[in-house]
């Protein structure tokens, strides 16, 4: 088995060496049935590896999540860093190091993530038919971890925060600019991805018709199955949460846009700040802080910059979504009108809890303010997940068709034992891709208060944890608070403006 270097956190690639691209080449060459028999025979060797690697992957993921949820950020980072470098591992570790106040190490890893995301995007862009459908013979877990668009945006957002915190606003500016550009690119890229998938299905269908003609057999009808409305209905019945949220504008994270607006406001670049805050306000219409920040910037643009300083409290609340798996039987039309039912495994988002409903912020100069909801990372993730879901389902349906066909052929040519082995292969390789950057928060909240005269700011969670924070009394600042779960004492950093 070939070893393949990967930038993803996928242990399968290291263990089994499967490459989606290689499998795809086999499939489209017409040698698929021959290959499938070999695969069936090799099953008994591969099965333990496939099983072990997904268990190993799950254990690693759970170990990180457990430490992270308990606020043991250094431990969580160390757990990821003990493995060979990978994109997902670096994302998890870099986020954890940020909360452990190891800003330089955090940014070094985030830099590596950016390089890996860029390389992955370039590979995906350059790939042919195998690009989107490359994982169909095994499943999505055997291809490298492909960062979500919001992963890339959050990489730049966290890097910007790290630089801002460590007094390097010039570098923070570059990262905010990158984050904004990523959001623009993502909107454009998505439309192209849908077109690319359609083209790939058409090419695959044409290749299948050609192969079937040469092999004197009926051809498999991919197009009919991937656009079968029955499949959509079954999915919606099983996974009712798919359309749970109103989507944000494509791939836009209001938090990043707002924070960039705040940054450019702090740099007295009111025109740019105004554009960004207007965009953020459009997505967070009921948020009074965003509204008053925009008003502040507009005043400055009119030559009346407000003189008083302020403290912004940004609260990273709870834990962002993870993925679960559900299995359903789908009707597949193979050669004729006869329907075969085959199992597929699909991912679903599982939303986790808030740490607290809000933070109470008291500066002594006025009554306590409460942080208010500003942006939902759940909703950002769900928006993208929903957009990509048809592509995930398409790959799974084609995968199920190929495996079902292989099972049929194995039974025809190798007898009952062959059929059983092929069935085992299908069962072993039918699983959903559960990888996700789980260190992101559930939501972002914000409050703005006057600067306390003595610099003492009191923060209280709704479940009784109180922190006394000293902020600069002669200037504005941001207090950035992170709390993953209710029982964990929040960590915070102060960014002087």
């Amino acid at each position: 088995m070939k070893k393949r270097k990967s930038s993803s956190g996928n242990s399968c690639e290291y263990k089994s060496g499967f490459s989606g691209v290689e499998f795809c080449n086999f499939m489209f060459s017409g040698a698929f049935p021959r290959f499938f028999f070999r695969a069936v025979l090799a099953l008994f060797c591969l099965h333990p590896l496939l099983g072990c690697s997904s268990v190993y992957q799950a254990e690693r993921f759970e170990a990180f999540n457990a430490s992270f949820a308990q606020g043991q950020y250094s431990t969580a980072a160390a757990l990821e860093l003990q493995h060979p470098p990978s994109l997902l591992g670096n994302l998890q570790a870099a986020a954890a190091l940020r909360y452990a106040a190891q800003y330089e190490r955090s940014n070094a890893l985030f830099d590596e993530c950016e390089v890996a995301i860029k390389a992955s995007n370039e590979r995906s862009f350059s790939s042919g038919v195998a690009g989107t459908l490359g994982s169909v013979l095994i499943n999505d877990t055997v291809v490298e971890y492909r960062a979500a668009e919001y992963d890339g945006v959050m990489v730049n957002t966290y890097k910007a925060l790290n630089f801002w915190k460590t007094g390097q606003p010039d570098l923070a500016r570059v990262e905010f600019n990158r984050a904004m550009d990523r959001q623009r690119r993502a909107r454009e890229r998505f439309a192209e991805e849908i077109q690319k998938l359609k083209t790939e299905i058409a090419q695959k269908q044409a290749s299948e018709i050609n192969n079937a003609r040469q092999q004197r057999r009926p051809s498999l009808d991919y197009a009919r199955n991937v656009s079968n409305p029955e499949i959509d209905a079954i999915i919606r019945k099983t996974y009712s949460g798919l359309d749970e949220f109103n989507a944000y504008p494509d791939f836009t994270n209001p938090f990043t846009t707002y924070l960039a607006g705040l940054f450019f406001m702090s740099q007295k670049e009111y025109s740019k700040a105004s554009t960004l805050l207007k965009e953020a306000y459009g997505m967070t219409a009921s948020n009074g802080v965003v509204q008053s920040d925009l008003f502040w910037v507009e005043q400055a643009l009119n030559g009346r910059p407000p003189g008083e300083h302020a403290v912004w409290v940004i609260y990273e609340n709870g834990l962002g979504p993870v993925r679960g798996e559900y299995r359903i039987d789908l009707p597949l039309y193979m050669y004729s009108e006869k329907v075969y039912y085959s199992g597929i495994a699909l991912p679903m988002l599982i939303f986790r809890e808030r740490a607290a409903s809000s933070l109470s912020v008291s500066s002594g100069t006025e009554g306590a303010e409460k942080t208010v909801f500003m942006a939902s990372m759940d909703r950002v993730a769900q928006t993208e997940f929903r957009k990509r879901y048809p592509s995930i389902v398409t790959r799974s349906v084609i995968s199920a068709m190929l495996k079902t066909y292989g099972q049929y052929e194995a039974r025809q040519q190798l007898g009952v034992l062959g059929g059983v082995a092929a069935g085992l292969f299908q069962r072993a390789t039918t699983s959903a891709d559960l990888r996700v950057w789980s260190a992101l928060p559930k939501e972002f909240q914000v409050a703005r208060v006057g600067v306390p005269r003595n610099g003492r700011l009191l923060l209280s969670t709704s479940n009784g944890i109180t922190l006394e924070i000293i902020v600069p009394s002669d200037r504005s600042s941001i207090v950035y608070v992170k709390q993953p779960t209710a029982a964990v004492v929040p960590v915070y950093e102060i960014i002087e403006l």
Binding site: I117, K118, A119, N121, E122, F125, S126, D170, L171, R173, V174, N177, R178, D181, R182, R184, R185, E188, E192
Partner: protein
């Protein structure tokens, strides 16, 4: 004549030796071939990149200085030279670049023009480029130095002009496979006596390249 088995083996053995030696030679030569090469910086034909490289800074600096000189903004009426300080040049791109890559080239060309001198003793941030101008004056209280060699009071020259600016990047999708990166080099020369801008210039550099991924 058909060679016998022995001669074939012998020949192949000789052949193998030659092959090994040849391969080693080729490898050593290819090693030389892949070593580092100097680039003729005055005639660099290496392909352009989407990011800013020294050629872009050189072009922007030359454009700016040529425009400044053409405008007459740096020609003092009495024929003496203006003293320039460099203010803030903001990097508003998506790349981590040191704006000194631009500023230094402008300073060199302005100095070479004979119209402008640059102070290294003063800086808007309070961290002058060469702290020695101020530091050597602390020797006035040192008995270890001949006091006639220590700089006297009132000798430093204050700037009368300030250069500031911004480099902006804007990325635009051209097609599914192509994107354009526009770089705006915006510079302003301010007369510190009046606070008025004597000169302003903008150089735009556009690049078109792959849209596979981000342009940084």
């Amino acid at each position: 004549m058909k060679p016998d088995r022995f001669s074939i083996e012998k020949r192949s053995s000789k052949g193998s030796r030659k092959l090994v030696i040849g391969t080693m030679l080729l490898l050593s030569m290819s090693g030389c071939g892949s070593s580092v090469q100097n680039i003729d910086m005055s005639n660099d034909k290496t392909p352009a990149v989407m990011q800013l490289d020294y050629r872009d800074f050189e072009m922007a600096a030359s454009d700016a200085v040529a425009s400044m000189l053409r405008s007459g903004a740096v020609n003092k009426r009495d024929g003496s030279r203006y003293v320039l300080t460099v203010g803030r040049v903001i990097n508003d791109t998506m790349q981590r670049i040191d704006t000194d890559l631009l500023v230094k080239k402008i300073r060199v060309e302005l100095l070479n023009s004979g119209n402008v001198m640059v102070t290294t003793a003063y800086d808007v941030t309070g961290n002058p480029e060469d702290a020695n101008s101020m530091k050597v004056r602390e020797l006035r209280s040192s008995s270890e130095f001949k006091q006639e060699t220590v700089q006297k009071q009132g000798q430093l020259i204050a700037p009368d002009m300030s250069l500031s600016g911004k480099i902006i990047q804007r990325n635009i999708r051209v097609s599914g496979s192509k994107q354009k990166a526009e770089y705006y080099f915006q510079l302003t020369l301010t007369d510190l006596k009046s606070g008025l801008a004597f000169w302003e210039g903008e150089t735009v550099i556009g690049k078109i390249g792959s849209n596979k991924s981000v342009a940084w």
